[in-house]
Amino acid sequence: MIDGPIISIRDLRKTYRAGEVEVHALRGVNLDIQRGEFVSIVGPSGSGKSTLFHIVGGLTPPTAGSIQLDGHNLLGLTDAQRTELRKTTVGFVFQKYNLLPTLTARDNIEIARHIAHQQGPLDAKFADVLKLLGLTGRLGHKPRALSGGEQQRVAIARAIVNHPAILLADEPTGNLDTENSTVVLGLLRDLNQRLGQTILMITHNPEAAAYGHRTVRMRDGRIE
């Protein structure tokens, strides 16, 4: 266990090219997230939320600045090192669920373990998580046989099966109706409270953002 913030971001910058145009997606972001915190990030489209999400998740490297994630300095990591980081340190939940359509719910969870070289049966603690997520009787079904809410709950289970340091959720209720949104957000809060799971959630929805301990607002590549 490392003392201090689990995520520490200083003057983080990201510039990429779109055709011949240079886009400054992040223009000096500073942010600390403590272990066990549930932080919501809100902001209009183009504010840099998704870019920050991708950098924290190790999907793309930053251009400049410093970002420490659970003791790892993400600046200067190679592709292979960022791939390694994603196996166990980060868990993703996406707006469109992104389950593998050919696998059952159980196998969607298992493949995350397989990629992370986790072997053996699921631990008892995770069985409780599956119960909490209401998935116990639905694990044998493929995504097409699951409702949107169920699919997103499977995606949450997949994201935390390897006990990541941080769960990154990108608009996790964006494709859900109000009822299922409430369920999913409630589950995220439960996971945060019961398991101490650190969560960083991007959302447009102020009501969803309110489920977090605090809300960070972004605009024009900076935190307000």
Binding site: F92, N98, A112, I115
Partner: protein
């Protein structure tokens, strides 16, 4: 786990999977049928040569295994007969009937001394100079019956005198003198078969004959029949290589298209795997395993189909063709299919492995 994903991915698009397997199987069948035909035809020729019952064969200086049209003076037969330990010797003349068959002219009385003669299933030996004998395979193939007039053999008509059990020298036999006369080969033979009083003296007699007939090809029957291989038939090996190259190309193209489509279709899934921490090697591994499974399934189907082609060629078509099943080529044909398929999977596989995770996740 990865194998489960591979199988489920293939099951997810059953028609594409089936078409890929069938295309690969056709490639495998094509190779197995060609090799089987080569081996079958050569084995059949060797078997018939062994069926003569001779110990030694003498052939003209420049003849090859499949080219028997170069002739030599029949007088040599007398010289051979005069050698110690030679129990019998007879010269035969061969003349191509069509692409796959020879008509053989022989002196039945001399031939009988080699092996006791043909075992007739209908009719009997020559009654006149215009008689022909055929083996039961050829007779069944052409629906011939004893006493009928047979045309088309060396451009003239013959009376079918007898039908004999197959497996002895030739499928079509006519009197030696008749064939010599109508082909302007009077006093000539293509091969001389020699029977010894003691087979153990074969090498000794060959050595003596080589001194007297130094330019002629003199071999033991064992050595001669061992020459009936793909390597001995001019251009056959090259032809097989061409078919193999076509097979690799077909496998390459089929799998390339199939896997390229699969990778495009699964762009978002590849992004998900990468977000979960899958390395490029992991993604490539999935694609290559899928390809290998297609190749294995295609190879198995191809082997089964080669039995169907054998049945068609040997039992339905009756084209004087014999297809054998050459087991060692199951592995070779499967390896060819695998190589072609893996080559076809390389580009789509690398495309998938190099896929940017963020772009892939935003792919619709």
């Amino acid at each position: 786990m990865i194998n489960k994903l591979v199988v489920e991915n293939l099951k997810h698009r059953p028609l594409r999977t089936l078409l890929s397997i069938v295309a690969i199987s056709i490639q495998v069948t094509m190779v197995l049928t060609l090799v089987g035909l080569s081996a079958g035809m050569l084995d059949e020729q060797a078997r018939r040569a062994r069926g003569v019952g001779a110990d030694i064969i003498i052939r003209s200086p420049s003849s090859s295994v499949i080219n028997t049209s170069l002739n030599m003076p029949a007088g040599i037969v007398g010289l051979v007969k005069s050698q110690p330990h030679v129990a019998a010797a007879t010269g035969v003349l061969t003349q191509a009937t069509d692409l796959l068959n020879y008509t053989t002219g022989m002196d039945l009385e001399q031939f009988d001394k080699l092996n006791g003669g043909f075992r007739f299933v209908a009719g009997g030996p020559f009654q006149g100079p215009d008689d022909v004998l055929v083996d039961s395979y050829y007779a069944a193939q052409h629906k011939y019956h004893v006493g009928e007039t047979v045309t088309g053999i060396v451009n003239r008509s013959w009376r079918l005198a007898g039908i004999y059990e197959p497996g002895m020298l030739a499928r079509l036999v006519v009197p030696l003198k008749t064939l010599q006369n109508i082909t302007a080969n009077t006093g000539k033979v293509s091969m001389i078969y020699v029977k010894l009083d003691d087979s153990a003296r074969t090498d000794e007699v060959i050595a003596e004959l080589e001194q007297k007939l130094s330019t002629y090809q003199i071999r033991s029957m064992q050595e001669y029949t061992a020459l009936f291989s793909v390597n001995s038939v001019p251009m056959l090996k090259e032809f097989i290589y061409v078919v193999i190259a076509l097979g690799v190309l077909v496998g390459f193209l089929v799998v390339f298209l199939s896997m390229y489509t699969a990778v495009l279709e699964r762009t978002r899934e590849i992004g998900v795997l990468k977000a979960l921490g899958a390395s490029p090697g992991y993604v490539l591994n999935i694609l290559l395993r899928e390809t290998a499974l297609l190749a294995v399934a295609g190879s198995i189907l191809g082997i089964l189909l080669s039995y169907a082609t054998r049945y068609a060629i040997n039992d339905v078509i009756h084209g004087s063709l014999i297809q054998a099943i050459v087991y060692i080529w199951w592995l070779i044909a499967a390896a060819i299919a695998l190589v072609g398929a893996l080559l076809g999977a390389i580009y789509p596989g690398l495309k998938a492995a190099r896929q940017d995770a963020i772009e892939a996740l935003s792919y619709d």
